[in-house]
């Protein structure tokens, strides 16, 4: 079988994470972020082909706070989904410190070992925030990337303290974290806003969100 050059193409992530010119307008250069939250990232090298880009992110509240999540309704829920869901049920939506995320490997369809690894990520983050004494971890966990492979857990747990050391509240800290959770995304997705509530309009609140996703996207979460 002969393939012409135009037929024989394969995909590889760009060597540099340059944002396409047409997408630059979607990437903010400043932001106003909620008080008491910190963002950080670090390099773990989860995917062998990634030799330099941060692939572990931490979003942390300086004090424990209420949290919740919605999860995929896919019946093959990945380990971090199962573990985070359990944490939320056990802690009853109260007293969470934040979330630790890795990109490069989804920790999906990885069985008991996968769930142990997801829990290890959560407890490693707790150890950094001084919450390790809790019976139930206070940090939710997320993973994204290739399905059906085990996490290189030591690389990740070694990177979590570095991500914690890199925590900060500036726009660049949030942007670094938003970039670290990307996979085939061509640009980081980060939005921050301020708002007031009618009953006390003198107080300005902030809300910020980051997301990632480019393929395998048809969410049906509950």
């Amino acid at each position: 079988v002969c393939l012409s050059l135009s037929q024989y193409r394969s995909y590889s992530a760009p060597a540099e994470r340059s944002i396409p010119a047409a997408k630059q307008k979607y990437v903010p250069t400043t932001g106003t972020y909620p008080k008491g939250f910190l963002a950080g990232s670090a390099y773990a090298g989860v995917k062998a082909s990634n030799t330099k880009f941060d692939d572990v992110a931490l979003i942390i509240s300086e004090k424990p706070c209420p949290a919740t999540a919605i999860f995929t309704r896919n019946l093959f829920k990945a380990a971090p989904v199962t573990v985070s869901k359990d944490l939320l049920e056990q802690r009853q939506s109260e007293g969470f410190r934040g979330v630790v995320v890795n990109s490069g490997c989804a920790n999906a369809v990885t069985g008991i070992e996968g769930r142990e690894n997801a829990r290890a990520m959560s407890t490693a983050a707790d150890a950094c925030t001084g919450s390790a004494a809790e019976d139930v971890p206070q940090t939710l966990v997320m993973s994204t990337g290739v399905i059906g492979q085990q996490l290189p857990i030591e690389k990740i747990t070694n990177a979590i303290p570095k991500a914690h050391a890199a925590l900060g509240s500036d726009h660049q800290h949030w942007m670094n974290a938003a970039q670290a959770i990307c996979t085939t995304d061509t640009f980081p997705k980060l939005i921050s806003r301020t708002f007031t509530l009618p009953s006390h309009p003198e107080t300005t609140y902030s809300i910020a969100g980051m997301t990632k996703g480019a393929g395998m996207i048809h969410p049906n979460m509950a």
Binding site: Y11, I70, T184
Partner: protein, 265 residues
């Protein structure tokens, strides 16, 4: 996979966190599709640390709208409107943020060259409208036609036509006689995003004489809106209370295959 993290320094009652997040997700992250594949890992986490909340201000507490099994408590699938101005303001802020994040994902869909808004109106039920929107958004033939700038509205009708057969959401289980719509009352248009007049493709089941040059011009743009009315009955006055489902998707290009042909290896 979709992952999202949302943080606010407002005060939300812990027992209301789930209600407010789910309410915002239904019309935002749960209303997008790039390729029709639901991931094993999709997660949206939401934190509210009250760090900006003045002392003495009570945390926002929303009435519980979901039962333990995750179904909406109201039979008509429309939660009772929460009229407390603070509740309305916060939910609007959260929903706006999540909607804009969701749209960014569609704009970055693997290989995507177009951002498509699908707006489906129905007199009967929001789920009928949403199912039709999902059907259009996940049709490979609709998406490849959009990539090729081909105004192949027959494919859009085809996708709408089989939508009722696919309804198996927890709110509306599969029925032998699903809630449907009359093809003779269905109208479809392309809405240009430059504010110019809509291009009618089908009016009450009858095809319009389509200006192919204008259709091509509309499809050249990065942004496109498809408007479907499932209940465009002749006797309508225009003042009826229609339900509208809005769904966002992108086109389907060669690049998608290139990216995913060897993603694992």
């Amino acid at each position: 996979t979709l992952l999202a993290i949302v943080c606010t320094d407002a005060a939300i009652h812990p027992e209301s966190m789930q209600t407010v997040l789910r309410e915002a997700a239904n019309t935002t992250f749960n209303s997008i599709s790039v390729d029709g594949d639901t991931s094993t890992n999709d997660t949206v986490a939401f934190f509210a640390n009250a760090a900006a909340s003045p002392e003495g201000v009570q945390p926002l507490a929303y009435p519980e709208m979901y039962s333990k099994n995750g179904r909406l408590k109201k039979k008509d699938l429309r939660p009772a409107p929460n009229t407390d101005p603070d509740h309305v303001a916060f939910l609007a802020a959260l929903t706006d943020l999540m909607r804009d994040l969701a749209k960014l994902i569609v704009r970055d869909g693997e290989g995507a060259t177009k951002f498509v808004t699908i707006r489906v109106r129905s007199d009967k039920n929001i789920m009928v409208a949403k199912r039709a929107a999902v059907s259009i958004a996940t049709s490979s033939l609709v998406k490849t036609a959009l990539y090729g700038k081909d105004a192949n509205w027959g494919r859009i009708l085809c996708a709408i036509g089989y939508a009722p057969m696919l309804m198996d959401s927890p709110e509306i289980p599969m029925r032998s006689n699903p809630i449907g719509f009359e093809p003779g009352n269905t109208s479809v248009s392309f809405l240009p995003t430059d504010g110019s007049e809509e291009l009618k493709l089908l009016v009450r089941g009858e095809p319009e004489k389509v200006d192919e040059a204008r259709a091509k011009q509309i499809l050249e743009a990065e942004n496109l809106e498809i408007l479907v009315n499932l209940d465009d009955r002749p006797e309508r006055t225009g003042h009826e209370d229609q339900r509208e489902a809005v769904f966002w998707t992108c086109d389907f290009s060669h690049e998608y295959v290139t990216i995913n042909g060897d993603y694992r290896t």
